[in-house]
């Protein structure tokens, strides 16, 4: 078996295990946690398209989650339009917003872009929190919107059990990982990489760095908004403090950065490794030692940046390659006596 084939087998095995989990895990509580885990993995992977490849630091991605969630929910509640259509509409709205933020700031130094995304997200939160009706659309201010769990079915993206949500979020995650892979292999991916590492050199070679970053931003904001719709349909309740919060934006960015920005599976690894740590420390220590999980998070953040500035992805990838090498070596050793 060649190295390439072994990689493919292990990838297929991982996908099969992820798809097979709901067969064994039937407890709604654990499935809920798993859905949120993959939801985070989806968000960090979408974030990575712009935050990782383009070499900038967007810190306001919760805006796009909010846009996605509010668009589909308003369309569904007020006009009875299926959330699947609302999802796409929200995605395009988020794309427009993302491009509008990027347009003036991608030509400036990175700090401006980071600050602009923060300010924009906060502005959106303040506006949503203080608006009951935006024209004909009911935002319901700080009280948020509730989706009644009626008319359950695939068309309305509403289900009584957790399994369908699980499969939807997993398929979304697979989709975004495949897209990331394609982008990283495309011309755009190489342009982005060049623009992120050495903007002057890339521009001198005729790469329109700002335009490539805008394209990455457009993709990332579109995908993030889709997750917003999913979240609204999954929790059936959205309110500005929880989904357009700075905390969420920062969490997405930092999980992706700890995992490894610019790599394909790094942000996914970050979510799979860090979310359980933060969940469990919050559940078991939150009452006794408030804020401990964020202290742990901060310490991990600093240590990773000090010793693995490219994220945890690198040592793990080395370990993975080493394991694959070992497997191949063992096979050849086993084969040699039979040949004799």
């Amino acid at each position: 078996m060649t190295r390439q084939a072994l990689r493919k087998v292990s990838l297929a095995a991982a996908a099969a295990i992820i798809l097979g989990i709901p067969v064994f895990v039937t407890s709604p509580t654990y499935l809920h946690i798993l859905v949120l885990l993959f939801f985070y993995a989806y968000l960090t992977t979408s974030w990575n398209l712009v935050g990782g490849f383009a070499g900038v630091l967007p810190l306001g991605h919760s805006t796009f989650i909010g846009i996605g969630a509010y668009t589909s929910t308003i369309l569904y509640l007020q006009y009875g339009i299926s959330p699947w259509i609302g999802m796409i509409v929200g995605g395009f709205l988020a794309t427009i917003v993302g491009v509008l933020i990027g347009l003036p700031t991608f030509k400036l130094r990175g700090a401006y872009f980071a600050l602009a995304t923060i300010a924009f997200a906060e502005a959106v939160r303040v506006i949503v929190e203080n608006t009951d009706y935006l024209g004909p659309f009911k935002l319901n201010g700080p009280r948020g919107l509730q989706i009644p769990p009626l008319n359950v079915g695939f068309g309305n993206l509403l289900f009584n059990t957790k399994q369908p949500y699980y499969y939807i979020v997993v398929l979304m995650l697979f989709g975004v990982i495949a897209l990331t892979y394609l982008v990283s292999r495309s011309k755009l991916g190489y342009y982005l990489n060049a623009g992120g590492e050495e903007p002057e050199a890339a521009m001198a070679l005729g790469v329109n760095v700002a335009r490539c970053k805008l394209m990455a931003m457009a993709m990332s904001s579109f995908l993030t908004a889709l997750a917003g719709t999913f979240y609204a349909q999954f929790t059936l309740f959205i309110h500005p403090k929880s989904i357009i919060s700075l905390d969420l934006s920062f969490e997405i960015a930092f999980i992706a950065l700890i995992g490894g920005r610019g790599s394909i599976v790094g942000p996914l690894l970050g979510a799979l490794l860090l979310r359980p740590v933060s969940d469990f420390s919050r559940i078991y220590l939150g009452a006794v030692l408030p804020g401990l999980h964020l202290i742990i998070f901060g310490i991990i953040l600093i240590l990773v940046m000090m010793f693995q500035p490219r994220g945890l992805h690198q040592p793990l990838a080395r370990l993975y390659n080493w394991l694959i090498d070992r497997l191949i070596v063992e096979r050849t050793v086993k084969l040699s006596p039979t040949k004799e």
């Binding site: 003036p104 924009f120 920062f250 930092f254 408030p290 901060g298 991990i300 953040l301």
Partner: protein, 295 residues
Amino acid sequence: MLYVLEDLINGILMGSIYGLTALGLTVIFGVLKVINFAHGSMLMVGMYLAYWSVKLTGVHPYLAMIVVVPVMFLFGFYLQDIVIKPIFKAERSVREPITVIIVTTGVWYILDNLTLLVFGPQYRNLPNNPLAGKMLEIGGLMLSVPKLWGFFLAIAVACALYWFLQKTRLGRAIRATSLDRDAASLMGIKQFRIYNITVGIGAALAGLAGVALVPFFNIFPTVGVLFDIKGFIIVVLGGLGSIWGALLGGIIVGVIESVGPQFMAATWTEAIVYGLFLVFLFVKPSGLFGVKYDW
């Protein structure tokens, strides 16, 4: 009309204190080219330091400066020396290392939540505060005394900082490093020593702002976040890296927040401040006093 004038003056007073909170941010950005996300947390630590020195010794709130400034300077100095420097060295070729921004955020999380863990989430006020709610009446205008002192402090600190950067040898070295760190190193300036001192100064300025706030502001673990986001807006309005820009940006934000509620719901003034920030990014991204070519 008198109310508007009163709000305007109070806005200028509060705004100059906002400017003071943003000074450290702008100084650190000017030299290290890094946004210090831990700035608000440093301000919060400064407030707690001031609170405890007043509570334990019973001195006048502003005398807490004697403790706060050196402690915060050392904190910033060693934070840069121990935590940030290795990362700068690892990413020497990168002009504006994102990793350093991330590390400052880690420091923010740790400081805020450590404070929460140790002192609890409750709001605190200075005990037997001689300035509590004190007002000064000038021709029918009511002005808050602690804010007036804060205003004078902000102006004095900005002038002192300007003098230090323009006239002293160390100040010139700092400015040289901020303009071109490689050229400065070639002239025999020790880059990382300057970085240590700069972050020290930034932290000390955050501490000073904390002292100015303590007599009239609640003290709680996440108080820094309020000033963090405001600080970012202020430094972009004024121009990243500019001292007078930070002061003026602070005053603009303070006036909008103070006069705005006369004309609209108070929460909308917040949205206007963010809107102004975004307009500035589109129209004049270098801010009011920003240097055109770089920051």
